[in-house]
């Protein structure tokens, strides 16, 4: 089971990317033995789940974990849920959508420490709101960039090229090594980009194996 963690601030576009990525993975894994090729864990804050319903309607197998806050999810519930999925569904891929206030790096660490499974992090940044968010909550949004080798800079349809340069520079200040890929997840994400993400996860997995 290969694990991908989708991180990024509230409303940055995690679910929008997840829908396309999961669909792409399903199409790749036609040969895979288990009926469930891609399982999804949704971590939502608050009392009502919305993303899980959207993803279920799209035909995916979704487990929903509610937590009042990002860090509450980092306890037994997440670990138990992953274990359960591994045993019962045995999917080829597991995608975890973190809450928009979580640090994906912390989630990865918990999974590694508790289950010995490594995960690839994919952080999505909201290009339109980036500067505003950096001034209001720098620690959170910059912390979400840690430990990721790809940053999908989403909603580039809403910014011009000068703004793009600024945001890109700002992101590079927090993570010098990440590859920044501009996308617009409300439209179709080019297959080459999805492939790159998948390759990244494959490399990690192959290195472990």
């Amino acid at each position: 089971m290969k694990i991908l963690i989708l991180g990024g601030f509230l409303g940055s576009g995690k679910t929008s990317v997840l829908l396309q990525l999961a669909e792409y993975l399903v199409s790749l894994e036609k040969e895979y033995h288990s009926g469930i090729k891609v399982a999804i864990v949704e971590n939502e804050i608050g009392a009502i789940g919305i993303d899980d319903k959207v993803l279920k309607k799209a035909g995916f197998s979704v487990n929903n974990l509610f937590s009042g806050c990002a860090c509450c999810s980092l306890t037994g519930e997440l670990v138990a849920s992953i274990k359960n999925i591994q045993i019962e569904l045995d999917p080829k891929w597991l995608i975890i959508e973190a809450t928009g206030v979580a640090y994906p790096g912390s989630i990865r660490k918990v999974i590694l420490d508790e289950l010995g499974l490594d995960a690839t992090i994919l952080t999505i940044a909201d290009a339109k709101r980036w500067q505003r968010l950096v001034s209001a909550m720098e620690l959170l949004v910059s912390g979400q960039l840690e430990d990721t080798s790809i940053v999908l800079l989403n909603k580039v349809d809403l910014i011009n090229s000068a703004e793009f340069k600024q945001v890109e520079q700002s992101i590079l200040n927090y993570n010098q090594t990440a590859e920044i890929i501009p996308i617009s997840a409300k439209a179709v994400i080019p297959e080459a980009i999805l492939k790159k993400i998948v390759n990244q996860a494959e490399v990690l997995f192959d290195n472990k194996a």
């Binding site: 804050i45 608050g46 009042g68 860090c71 509450c72 206030v101």
Partner: protein, 135 residues
């Protein structure tokens, strides 16, 4: 300011069970999550259209009152048709209700905002939605 914190050490949750029926809020550090659900009786398309307007008004209100929007989401689900099955011991009756009920959920994730005020505001969003639908 959101600060990274070690969860094992501190968890300052406040569960607020407000006086607004069906609306719940949850505060962690300065992230406030306020969620509510209500059944609105009426035409699906009209409700969707009105909800778009109401969400926009809610978003403006949050910003005008000094809040920072994380994400405001709403979900509209139609329960239609609705069937009621009941008995008093003899035969079982089946009743089909044709009027459409639309379940509307709203989740607002906001920073810098008082829980009770936001709960009130979301409750009035639902009231407005029902009122507009009744027109």
């Amino acid at each position: 300011m959101i600060t990274k914190h070690n969860h094992a050490e501190s968890c300052n949750h406040h569960h607020h069970s407000g006086h607004h029926h069906g609306i719940e809020s949850h505060l962690h550090d300065d992230v406030l999550v306020c969620s509510g659900k209500r059944d609105i009786i009426g035409d699906l398309e009209t409700i969707k259209l009105n909800l778009v307007g109401e969400v926009k008004i809610l978003a403006n209100w949050i910003q005008e009152t000094g809040g920072i929007i994380g994400h405001v989401k709403a979900l509209v689900e139609r329960d239609f048709p609705v069937t009621m099955i009941s008995t008093t011991g003899d035969d079982v009756t089946i009743k089909e209700m044709t009027g459409s009920t639309v379940k509307v959920s709203v989740v607002a994730i906001v920073f810098n905002m008082n829980a009770q005020r936001l709960e009130c505001r979301i409750a009035s969003l639902f009231d407005a939605l029902q009122k507009q639908t009744d027109l």
